[in-house]
Assembly symmetry: C2
Homo-oligomer: 204 residues x 2
């Protein structure tokens, strides 16, 4: 590390991903320690599943039970609240579109909105697949509700959001969270320590 | 930890799993540091895939490329040789049966055989789905070749091996490697540090 604030870590995730919620909180700590800029990159994990043939954790036998147990364990470990929506996973396309609409206005605000969305989903069990909930949350960040609603429904924003999911697949992203540290891919919440090692040792 | 040598870690894995190879080497270090007994538990990951609907890493788009990149990266990290068989993954049922046949004779020798099998597969790219290769390897552990061959083909051993794969599923094992530390489940090579934390802090 040369100490210059040029490094960034890309954080690809689905707003309905439990591991992305824990990953975001860990990543914030990690990024702070090394003055890394986080590039928030929400995408629709379902698009990747169409390529890999995978199914969501919560609809996969055996994995679903493990994930529930594991999330509760991680919540205790990280001292984070965790409440799952009764109908998890929600399809969080409106939240993703709102994110990219906000990002065009302010990259920094978009990052705060992304974290707030994950927290609303996994701490308050709010349905972030619901446009009204997304608009409500977005209005805490200095935007008019009508403005956000129009943004989410703007064909250009819809196309941009779709292109992000396509970009994810083109770059080999198949799960959430998925990180790139200066081009190097790391899949999964549990890889953050390895990513830190990669950063400190400048790869190996 | 009370210092008594009563603790054990169960290590469920498929002999054709790249992450099990790296996991075994890490687990040996971990177990040594804490005087943990390793219970080697090979099973057929394909049996679990029938329940979860998952496919093997190497036949899954996107994941296959990531796994190849990741294995090479882990090999450099752990300073371990790694060469993949041209027709990976092999169906390592004969190796699994040989393991359980050996385990009836000596739990300790079975552990050495298991590690040797993983090393032969991933260091020397030997086809450990081939009965002759398994018999050859087993003969390094003090058994007659004919004896091992009869053991692998013994209906009782076949039933025992099948029962182990069924036990894996019944206990929620869906991937390889998969560990149980005093009943607590941990999935994946990358969870060994968390398992260590669990051991030291006696859970949380």
């Amino acid at each position: 590390m040369d100490g210059q604030d040029e490094h960034c870590v890309e954080f690809w995730f689905d707003f309905a991903s439990g591991y992305a919620y824990f990953g975001a909180h860990d990543l914030l700590n990690f990024a702070k320690r090394y003055s890394l800029r986080i590039v928030w990159r929400p995408f629709m994990l379902g698009s990747a599943f169409k390529v890999t043939g995978a199914t969501g954790l919560s609809s996969t036998p055996l994995k679903a039970e493990y994930a529930k147990h594991d999330w509760a364990r991680l919540a205790r470990l990280q001292n984070l609240p965790f409440t799952l929506h009764d109908e998890h996973p929600r399809i969080t396309l409106p939240a993703m579109r709102a994110f990219y609409w906000i990002e065009r206005r302010s990259v920094e605000v978009a990052g705060h909105f992304a974290l707030a969305t994950l927290n609303a989903y996994f701490q308050d069990a709010r349905d972030m697949g619901d446009l009204d909930a997304v608009v409500e949350l977005g209005s805490n960040f200095g935007f008019q509700k009508d403005q956000i609603r129009r943004g989410v429904n703007d064909p250009e924003i819809k196309a941009l959001a779709r292109a992000k999911s396509e970009e994810a697949i083109a770059r080999g992203v198949f799960g959430s969270p998925f990180f790139f540290l200066e081009g190097e891919p790391f899949w999964g919440w549990d890889r953050i320590p390895l990513m830190e090692k990669w950063l400190v040792e400048e790869g190996w």
